[in-house]
Symmetry: C3
Amino acid sequence: MNTVETKLRDRGFEIPAPAASLASFVPTLQVRDLVYISGQLPVKDGKLAVQGVVGVDLNVDDAKKGAELCLLNIIGQLKAHVGSLENVRCVRLGGFVQSESGFKEHASVVNGASDLLIYALGDRGKHVRAAVGCSSLPLGAAVEVEAIFQIIDAESPAERLREAS
Amino acid sequence: MNTVETKLRDRGFEIPAPAASLASFVPTLQVRDLVYISGQLPVKDGKLAVQGVVGVDLNVDDAKKGAELCLLNIIGQLKAHVGSLENVRCVRLGGFVQSESGFKEHASVVNGASDLLIYALGDRGKHVRAAVGCSSLPLGAAVEVEAIFQIIDAESPAERLREAS
Amino acid sequence: MNTVETKLRDRGFEIPAPAASLASFVPTLQVRDLVYISGQLPVKDGKLAVQGVVGVDLNVDDAKKGAELCLLNIIGQLKAHVGSLENVRCVRLGGFVQSESGFKEHASVVNGASDLLIYALGDRGKHVRAAVGCSSLPLGAAVEVEAIFQIIDAESPAERLREAS
């Protein structure tokens, strides 16, 4: 069965265990069928894996891998919250790229998160997005991504069938 | 009939055709009656028209015109999604201004978007807002604006009547 | 009765009168039971009280006090909108910290807002959050915080009871 998890595993991605928040907030919060997810950093095995100013300390390709890590951590939080990844669709990603004036390739960097999400969830991964440049990010991260997902219940089977076709 | 479109035309603004996204995401996404709109840049006729660091490469007035362009592109996306601009109200604008430490006039810049929206939609254009400074923006844009709108259906005619008075 | 207001007063915080917006937008807007609140600055008695680049012009502790002020202004807007603070819960905070490359303590700064909110509202204060660094902020503020709250109505008493235990 070609589930979200097997799709990710096919490309060598394991869904991480959800990390505790860095601070005084919660990683996920649900209002009706919407799940809000706190900003996630490119953390792997408990350590910040991708840091610095994109275009200065690391290149766009490495930053893109950082955005993938952020997305995997989002998926990890979402799975822990919802239980399954088969009945969710993404609403919005907010992508923040640590960068200096003159940097222009935010879209390419944040595509690391968007492309992986659409690969894993198909049409249910399509989302709106804002990508911007930040002078600094928590812990020195190169990228941060936050998200809103919608849980699709049994009342709307059409949403899920669309992806199967 | 003084519609949103004629109001904009009266001031010399044409609603642009909606542009495709720069990247792996969609320009608009609807959850129930809310329409989320991806971050829009000051693009005109397919080209980035207002770029650079506000306060260094361009002044506040020019940046404000950039915010107007972002808003027109938001309106263009919204019209393409909803079909009409007569039954929508704005919930929130997020405004991002490329700028350096010491820049303080974010409110004036993003007012380019807020003022035009309120001019075009009247009370239905009133929105909450966060305006912040960014070290860089996609393609080198001077301004980026994202939005959430609500579609007002026939069940809530009072919302529409209020503007008519 | 240990209400939100008395809790805040116990720590020496007075809920400020809601300030008018700096610009062409509204401070609060409600969609169904969600109340969106515009980005609030560390303003006290009508004056910007905490400004500059965190880590350069002021330290993390002073910036944290700035985040507390932003939160108090959010609470002030919320109280003016809803009338009471006893039937609300926080959904999301967005925290923006004016800072340069190399600054890493965003979480500590924005905790000024998050900790005070959780102190005042208990479990109803728990929220998701994104904290990022900005090259500049309106008026030169050191911190800006925006928020989404949910009004909990009589249909969901369990939410309120949980905090009492």
